[in-house]
């Protein structure tokens, strides 16, 4: 089976965290704040678009607002398929991390 890439995982998590307000702008803001790294618009858009096309994400179109220059906004939320993929990845992660020692001490 194909796992999500790290980028996709982060984006799906961000969408979960943001809930109702998960637009591209907010997702990007969230990612920048929580990872401390630079995310270009394209960096966010491309995986977002891909996951929409393979139905991990669903979307809803919001009302246009003035400060967006009168443009509508797309809000994303996870589909059942997306949730399943995320859960599967988490299980694998936990299994892989379980019993790993030493790393935490070294870091101290």
């Amino acid at each position: 089976m194909n796992f999500l890439t790290r980028k996709e995982e982060l984006i799906l998590l961000a969408v979960l965290h943001l809930g109702e307000s998960a637009s591209l702008v907010k997702i990007r803001e969230f990612l920048v704040n929580s990872t401390g790294q630079k995310w270009s618009v394209g960096n966010v858009y491309v995986p977002l678009d891909r996951m929409r096309r393979i139905n991990y994400l669903e979307m809803r179109i919001g009302a246009p607002t003035a400060f967006r220059g009168g443009k509508a906004v797309k809000y994303y939320h996870l589909s059942q398929k997306g949730i399943r993929a995320l859960v599967a990845l988490r299980k694998v992660n936990e299994r892989m991390w379980a019993g790993v020692r030493g790393l935490i001490f070294e870091k101290k």
Partner: protein
């Protein structure tokens, strides 16, 4: 939270919008704008603007590759469907690809031919600055242009005009005998040239130095071919070539062989100073007679018109008051295609070729359109399904155009293969040396690419629009019947296709008629069974009587005559005024010098007066002595045209005055000969005068009987060798010269034959496909008709009726068009067939097209008519 909107930098924004995928454009640009606005409020306009630009550069590549990726996924699906269809309908695919491939191959061949023609003289870097000085004369009979000009012209222009940087003259030696030790050959490309030639033209030296190679008298530069021919492996430099048996020439240089794509290919270049010892000094100051071709090199960025004006001023200083000659410059680069001095312009052929190429490609495209729309029913379901699943019309159009592009690409590969096979044939037909590797040239590659796109879009456009217009609900219910909507358009296409075929057939036939007319027309003299012997030996020229006597003892030889020029290649003019001319008006006559036997040997009819005769000593007074008076007049023969120009009722006994600068020579007219055609029948008959000469002729014409020409030829050669063992024997048949004259017409005719065959082939392929489709559609109908008692022949008529009607409509449209085109073409010939008496040929073309259509359709029709109705009506 920030809630104010700021407009981002305008250029960046419009740039961004251009690259965003259509479906997400509004949202994405909104996202960009939102972030920009918040940054603007936080950090100010400059930072925000900077951010916007950075984002643009970072994000656009990713976004583009993303949308490309997704469109490729769809493309893969289209490609699979296309290839499946291709495999499933093998016959249909074969017809399409074969038609397109043949059409494209044709077009590619033509393209190669055209680029070769345009490549002439390109290896001479200064070709655009080199001009030949032509002499033009405006006379009541029309404009006469000559390539040759007076001897002192070029050096005078060079010394008087600063714009003329360099000059060279080309004085032809004609067909001259060249020898080295015991090797003797006749060479036709021998010229005397000025040293400037090496600076003007790019003749790369293999041996020797360009600067000094032609600096002094009796220096000669030869090509590699010549060097090998005469010297073999010896070093040619410093060796001595003998020309015309008496002039020794010192080889000072060897140049590379000329490329094939040139008309400037002198093999032996002799220094011009050599001429000084051969002619009288007046040769170099004679502004009247035009002996040689003059080329000049202009400094960059000159206007030809300005220079022509300046040249005219210089020239007028040396012209006499009666001189009406005007000098014109002709660019060396343009000479091959746009020749000013010859009637057959190559550019015309090129246009004809391109037009034919496009017609053939068009036929192939029409095939494709016809077959795809005819087969639309079989794809209607697919279209319906795609529409139901959510494909929009644009995507479907893209799919079908993509499909025809795939066909087009496959065809072009086949076409390249065909070109590879047939290129040698085209070369032998056109006499060119196009290589397959030339396809790699940028021009050709662009053409190739263009033709793939053109064919793809042209032939895909109609099916795409047609097929994508289906209503899914109807199609899936099975309501749609057999693409009837397209049948009208299809008919138009078939008519167009047949029109092209009929035009090509008609043109080919008229072309052939005109050609055979020109070949078989009575020229006014007998050109057949005449063997011409070249005689360049001065001693032998003085007296050929012994040779003549021995030759005439042979019963197969009926006549021996001598002349200065052959009837096939008369090209020298003299300026003449005549008794009774107003204000000493002058006209230019073609002249030839002949012996007593010339008229009899060539069977030229004498209409009035008498032939030259030994009984009249005055006949032979042609010596160009100065100041002869009327009492010492010589004799001249005129042709009918000359008499007509002079306006004489009773020509015999009248006087013609040949003017020669200030010199005047008087001649009495002793006879009038019937007009004869000496040049191509493209040209009208021109006035001529003939003079008698006792000896010094370059050509001996021997008339032989038709039986056993080979043996007679052998005995002529034996006779020659036994009498003149040291002089090489060189002979040819006169009619071969005439054959060569119509080479370009013959070439055109052959090409038209091939192209019509190809057009017919492509058309038949399409018709065959259409017929098989029609039969398939009407299987049930035919079955029922047969059960109800229709005979096989009735079914056959039923099926071929429609196509017959289409061909008839096509003929009605195109025959007038072909008629007009051909009468226009025929206007280029002074002597031509009367097109109105050949109208039946056009009917033949139409009937031919009809016959071809019937044969093609009948394959399918017979099969359908013979089929057992049970097979088609049974339901399982």
């Amino acid at each position: 939270m920030i809630n104010r909107f700021h407009v981002p930098p305008r250029t960046a924004r419009s740039l961004l919008r251009r690259f965003l995928p259509k479906t997400d454009r509004a949202y994405l640009s909104g996202d960009f704008d939102e972030i920009y606005s918040s940054l603007y409020d936080e950090k100010g306009q400059r930072r925000a603007g900077l951010w916007y630009w950075c984002q643009l550069i970072q994000s656009i590549p990713q976004i583009i590759s993303n949308s490309l990726y997704w469109s490729f996924v769809m493309f893969k699906n289209y490609l699979i469907i296309t290839l499946r269809n291709l495999r499933k309908h093998k016959a249909y695919s074969f017809i399409n690809i074969a038609g397109l491939a043949v059409g494209m191959a044709c077009f590619l061949l033509i393209l190669l031919f055209v680029q070769y023609e345009f490549g002439y003289e390109r290896h001479h870097k200064k070709a655009d600055r080199i001009y030949r000085v032509n002499v033009e004369q405006h006379r009541p009979g029309g404009v006469f242009r000559a390539r040759s000009s007076p001897v002192p012209l070029a050096p005078t222009l060079h010394s008087e005009l600063p714009e003329v940087l360099q000059f060279t003259r080309f004085l032809s030696f004609g067909n001259s005998l060249v020898s080295y030790e015991d090797k003797q050959f006749y060479e036709s490309d021998v010229y005397c040239v000025d040293p400037g030639v090496m600076e003007m033209f790019d003749f790369p030296f293999v041996l020797g130095q360009a600067e000094a190679a032609l600096a002094d008298k009796n220096f000669v530069v030869i090509t590699q071919d010549m060097a090998v021919k005469y010297f073999g492996r010896e070093d040619p430099i410093g060796k001595s070539l003998i020309i015309e048996g008496e002039i020794p020439l010192n080889v000072t240089g060897v140049i590379k062989n000329h490329p094939k794509s040139t008309n400037m290919n002198p093999q032996i270049l002799i220094s011009f100073k050599t001429v000084e010892s051969l002619v009288s000094p007046s040769f170099f100051t004679n502004w009247i007679s035009q002996q040689l071709e003059s080329y000049i090199l202009l400094s960059p960025d000159q206007h030809v018109r300005d220079i022509e004006d300046k040249i005219e001023i210089v020239f007028s200083k040396y012209q006499s008051s009666q001189d009406v000659r005007v000098l014109k410059l002709e660019q060396f680069k343009r000479m091959h295609l746009y020749s000013m001095t010859s009637n057959s312009k190559n550019i015309k052929t090129i246009y004809i070729f391109l037009a034919v190429g496009f017609l053939i490609i068009l036929t192939a495209c029409i095939n494709f359109m016809n077959l795809s729309t005819a087969r639309s029913t079989s794809r209607a379901r697919e279209v319906g399904m795609r529409k139901v699943v959510g494909a929009n019309r644009r995507q479907l159009i893209r799919q079908f155009i993509g499909e025809s592009l795939v066909f087009s690409v496959i065809s072009v590969v086949c076409a390249l293969f065909l070109v590879y096979i047939f290129l040698p044939m085209l070369n032998s037909l056109t006499g060119q040396f196009v290589q397959f590797a030339d396809i790699g040239r940028t021009g050709i590659l662009l053409g190739l690419f263009g033709i793939v796109l053109l064919v793809g879009f042209l032939s895909g456009s109609y099916p795409a629009l047609f097929l994508s217009g289906f209503k899914p609900a109807l199609v899936l219910k099975g309501v749609l019947r057999t693409g009837m909507k397209g049948s009208m358009f299809r008919k138009v296409l078939v008519v167009a296709q047949f029109s092209i075929t009929i035009i090509l057939i008609a043109c080919t036939m008229i072309l052939g008629k005109q050609l055979s007319f020109m070949r078989n027309k009575d020229l006014g003299f007998k050109k057949d069974q005449i063997v011409v012997l070249r005689n360049n030996n001065v001693e032998l020229q003085k007296n050929i009587q012994p040779l003549r006597d021995v030759l005439l003892q042979n019963p197969q030889i009926t006549g021996v005559a001598q002349s200065h020029q052959l009837p096939s290649s008369i090209g020298m003019y003299n300026d003449v005024t005549w008794e009774g001319a107003q204000d000493e008006e002058r006209i230019e006559l073609i002249f030839n010098e002949i012996d007593y036997n010339f008229l009899d040997t060539y069977e030229i009819e004498l209409l009035q007066g008498r032939n030259f005769s030994k009984e009249f000593p005055t006949d032979s007074r042609f010596a160009r002595q100065e100041g002869r008076s009327l009492e010492q007049a010589g004799s001249v023969l005129l042709n009918e045209e000359a008499v007509k120009r002079f306006g004489w009722e009773e020509p015999v006994g009248k006087t013609v005055i040949q003017t020669y600068g200030e010199t005047r020579l008087y001649f009495n007219v002793i006879g009038v000969i019937k007009d004869f055609h000496f040049s191509s029948l493209r040209n009208p008959i021109v006035p001529m005068n003939f003079f008698l000469r006792e000896g010094g002729f370059r050509y001996i014409s021997v008339k032989i009987r038709t039986e056993d020409t080979g043996k007679t030829l052998g005995s002529i050669e034996d006779t020659w060798k036994s009498l003149n063992p040291h002089i090489p024997f060189n002979s040819f048949f006169l009619d071969t010269v005439f054959e060569q004259r119509y080479q370009s017409e013959e070439r055109l005719r052959k090409l038209f034959v091939y192209f019509s065959v190809l057009a017919i082939f492509i058309g038949c392929l399409g018709l065959f496909g259409l017929a098989s489709f029609a039969v398939e559609q009407r299987t049930k109908e035919i079955g029922i008709r047969k059960i109800l008692g229709a005979s096989d022949s009735l079914i056959f008529i039923l099926l071929s009726k429609e196509f017959t009607r289409l061909v008839l409509v096509a003929s009605v449209f195109t025959l007038p068009l072909a008629y007009l085109a051909m009468s226009f073409w025929l206007k280029g010939y002074a002597y031509r067939i009367n097109i109105n008496s050949h109208v039946f040929l056009f009917l033949c073309a139409a009937l031919g097209a009809l016959a071809i259509a019937w044969i093609t359709v009948s394959f399918q029709a017979v099969k359908a008519a013979r089929a057992n109705p049970v097979d088609s009506l049974r339901y399982e």
